[in-house]
Amino acid sequence: MERREERELAAVKAYELRTKNKAELTKQLEELKQELASLKVQKVAGGSAGKLTKISAVRKSIARVMTVITQTQRAQLRLFYQKKNFLPLDLRVKKTRAIRRRLTKHEASVKTVKQQKKDTHFPLRKYAVKA
């Protein structure tokens, strides 16, 4: 087990992870979780200081792997739903509930033909007073 710890990097790097495919990422995730479980056991058994500091590094590595997995997954899903009418709710814009219910910019700017004509023929004039 110690040899395996020496072989692994101190911390995984996100840009290296993005080159991997899903199967490799899930395998790495499993390995990291196993390492974390063994570290926790060693903590109970009174492990060395080096081992105990490693715990936080491993936890963050697990977080990085999971982040890369979900990021690539969602990017792929957005591509898949690009041509479709309806998006799943978690891929839609979140903002706030009230903002989602507002009129869109286009809807708010729409004018009747009557109003457009008025604006064309009677625009707001700017005057200046000659000194």
């Binding site: 056991v41 899903l77 309806f86 799943p88």
Partner: protein, 209 residues
């Protein structure tokens, strides 16, 4: 020549099947012979065949069977008037006094889009279930004397999940699992192992002795 069934002197009974007197009228020659047999009158059919046998190929005359007479029409009209405009549906026969809600069509869901883009990975996997082993004095006593391991487990896990997690992580079968929730909010699991494995060996293998 046409055959008209004369029902003027008829008394009661089914107008269609009584014997009737037939009046034979002469039609102009040079007309094709056609014997139209209606389903109504059997008597008329028999007569038609008799007549057509007598008629030679040179005489070309039509043989027509008469339409239902006015009296038949009147009787049909009376029946319809009695029935009324709305007509009457056949009533269902109810054999029980209980009325049960009729079963209607239940369509299965066919959503236009998935509400969640992708289902979540299982949230409570084996790494999450078993948190840490315990190596306190009372826990060590359990290992040596009762062949049980003592673990701190996730509060949301149940005994079956604890058993499976142990199997997956350390390849050990549990005989039975007892759980309790500690006052500090964690769950403690006493996992009794099968007699063929020694808890002390397993604890050494795991690494927390």
């Amino acid at each position: 020549m046409s055959i008209n069934s004369d029902n003027s002197n008829r008394r009661g009974g089914n107008p269609l099947f009584l014997s009737t007197r037939y009046v034979i009228q002469q039609h102009a020659p040079d007309q094709d012979v056609e014997a139209t047999i209606t389903a109504q009158s059997f008597q008329t059919v028999r007569l038609t065949f008799f007549i057509s046998a007598c008629v030679t190929t040179t005489t070309q005359q039509t043989i027509k069977i008469a339409a239902p007479s006015d009296k038949n029409k009147a009787l049909a009209a009376k029946k319809a008037a009695l029935k009324g405009v709305n007509g009457q549906k056949a009533r269902k026969i109810r054999t029980s006094t209980t009325f049960n809600r009729p079963k209607t069509l239940k369509l299965a869901r066919s959503p236009k889009y998935a509400r969640k883009s992708v289902p979540h990975v299982p949230r409570l996997d084996q790494y999450k279930v078993l948190k840490t082993p315990l190596n306190t004095e009372s826990a060590m006593k359990k290992i040596e004397e009762n062949n049980t391991l003592v673990f701190i487990v996730d509060v949301k896990s149940n005994k079956r999940q604890i058993k499976d997690a142990l199997k997956k992580m350390y390849d050990v079968t549990a005989l039975k699992v007892n759980t309790l929730i500690r006052p500090d909010g964690n769950k403690k699991a006493y996992i009794k192992l099968t007699a063929d494995v020694d808890a002390l060996d397993v604890a050494n293998k795991i690494g927390f002795i």
